[in-house]
């Protein structure tokens, strides 16, 4: 089916709420916001950890443009639409525009995985990187707009400077924080393995708080710290990735449940007309213009641009952001919250449902290949100083007829597999090398010369 899980848990939250069968009366926007922000931190950190920088590097510039110019364009277009439709101030419109300006790639990939398809070319890393880095932008825009609304003496110029400070400090502290985490995790020797995830968790929170206190964007910092950590060589890597994966899922569920509890479904019915109209403008006008505007310099194919426009699924971030006006007491903040909620659900339903079909229609889908368990489960990227390679043994190779033990292999390098006449042989010291053998060799790169000499020996 492919509806984002978001809707499922929001539905459960609604059912448990005062208008559902649960009858829990929850209307504490402040608490909901705190839960939302903490959850968001973990989701962003885990997203950074999972992002393969090697793969994403090539799309970092378009993704960054999409996350800044694209988000800004979307927000401004929605602002104008809201201003015209509701006949209100531009700023009030900009507030709604900012709140719904960021996308949720986790939802996109969850839906694609259900349909067993993957995306061709640069699309996957592009969308992943965009959605990881556009949340800080949306948060910044929302808070800035609220400040402008509350303090009319502030100017757009001062907010622009504020933006530079937020992004600059956020990126810097995130980068340094990530490096510090790598250093600490690799240096400190904990006797108990379970400490590592907890330790990293507390470090991540420190990175966020430190950035927030100094006036940077904590969301950007924690995402970048995750990115640095996930793409460095760290001990206990697997444990950490699994822990934060689980934590991110748990955070999402907690966040959606809370938000589901917070909304009163009857209020959604009141805004359906305007909600549908704005959702339509967002999906068919604002997002496509934002995407085309940001990506035109980067030579994407037309159909790729169409697809990126269509996968502007909105996720939990807008709903969390919609609690900000409630707390700051912005005029008509109830309306904003309900509208945003309605738009997010519409976008998730419409785009979520049609995602697989769209990818296939545009010819951008390819079968999803799960990572296969291979004979040797070992990847070169995770262990920089070792390498696995294959070598063919010819008749006149000096290795023929010798026992492995007599080859004088360096201590930390091994022949890990011999394939002979389609049979796999696990080598032992007394195994004799024969002509036609294929050897799989695990080598410490420091031993390259020594091994080269052994293999290059001819009779």
């Amino acid at each position: 089916m492919g509806i984002p899980t978001l809707l499922l848990f929001i539905g459960v939250g609604m059912l448990a709420g005062s208008e559902g069968i649960g009858g829990i009366n929850f209307n504490d926007a402040g608490l909901a916001q705190s839960i939302g922000i903490v959850s968001l931190l973990f989701i962003l950190f885990s997203g950074g950890l999972d992002t393969n920088w090697k793969e994403s590097k090539v799309v970092s510039l378009p993704a960054f443009t999409l996350a800044t110019v694209g988000v800004l364009a979307t927000a401004l277009l929605i602002a104008v639409a809201v201003m015209l439709i509701f006949n209100t101030s531009f700023l009030w419109g900009l507030l709604i525009g900012s709140i719904i300006s960021s996308t949720d790639a986790a939802a996109v990939f969850a839906v694609l995985r259900i349909g067993n398809i993957s995306l061709k070319g640069r699309l996957k890393p592009l969308l992943e990187l965009e959605s990881g880095s556009n949340d800080p932008m949306a948060v910044f825009l929302t808070i800035s707009t609220i400040e402008l609304l509350l303090n009319p003496e502030k100017t757009f110029l001062s907010q622009t400077l504020f933006f530079v400070q937020q992004i600059g400090l956020g990126a810097l502290i995130g980068l340094l924080g990530g490096k510090a985490m790598v250093f600490l995790i690799n240096r400190l020797n904990f006797s108990y393995e379970g400490i590592y995830p907890v330790f990293s968790l507390s470090l991540a929170i420190i990175v966020y708080s430190l950035t927030a206190v100094t006036g940077g964007s904590g969301f950007l910092a924690i995402y970048i710290a995750g990115l640095v950590l996930g793409n460095s060589q760290i001990i206990q890597r697997r444990t950490l990735l699994r822990f934060f994966d689980g934590l991110a899922v748990l955070s999402q569920i907690a966040m959606f449940l809370t938000l589901g509890l917070l909304i009163f479904p009857s209020n959604l019915i009141n805004v359906w007309g305007y909600g549908l109209l704005l959702a339509g403008i967002l999906i068919f006008v604002a997002r496509p213009i934002g995407v085309f505007l940001s990506l035109i310099p980067f030579k994407f194919k037309f159909k790729e641009l169409v697809f990126v426009s269509w996968v502007g699924l909105r996720g939990a971030v807008p709903i969390v952001l919609a609690t900000f006006p409630l707390i700051y007491g912005i005029k008509n903040s109830d309306l904003i919250f309900n509208l945003v909620f309605f738009i997010v659900i519409t976008s998730s339903l419409l785009q979520g449902w049609s995602l697989n079909l769209t990818a296939k229609l545009l010819g951008l889908a390819e079968p999803f290949v799960p990572k296969k368990k291979t004979q040797i489960e070992f990847s070169n990227e995770t262990q920089i100083d070792t390498e696995i390679f294959e070598v063919i043994v010819n008749e006149n190779s000096g290795m023929c007829g010798k026992q492995i033990v007599d080859l004088d292999f360096p201590k930390d390098s091994r022949i890990i597999l011999i394939v002979r006449n389609d049979q796999n042989i696990i080598p032992a010291g007394n195994t004799i090398i024969e002509p036609g053998d294929l050897l799989s060799i695990l080598m410490n790169k420091q031993n390259r010369d020594a091994i080269h000499d052994i293999l290059a020996l001819t009779q």
Binding site: K372, Q375, E390, I392, N394, V419, D422, M443, A456
Partner: protein, 157 residues
Amino acid sequence: MKLSDLLNEKNVIADMSGKDKNEAINELIDLFVDDPKVNDIEKVRKAVFDREKIISTGVGKGFAVPHGKTDAVQEVICAFGRSKEPIDYQALDQRPVHLVFLLVGKENLVSLHIKLLSRISRLMTRDEFRKKLMNANTVKEIIEIFKTEEETYFELL
């Protein structure tokens, strides 16, 4: 699937023009420039030459098996080239190379990649087989020689 199933008239060259190792490898890789199975030909090139840096795949007796693994191919690709003229391949036995078999596998299909390599190894290390390849007159004949030789061998997949 057998190794010979991967060979066809598009990826077999009877008279290569490459005179040295780089030219020969590039000549075979360039056969796949417009192949839909290849996402990024430059990554393929890099994977093959990276492997070559560890130790020459010119394993002696006049044949070479340049190979590599990369995610830039959608499935395994291979090519075979013969050169009547000697190719300076910096082989392990310092002798020139006449037969070049290129194999590029997918990063996450290590098992198949190794099976295919071992099949190449098994075939190419036989003196008589190499002689037959050298004496073949056409591309068709070369493919036929691979097929016949492999007839009694197991399917690899």
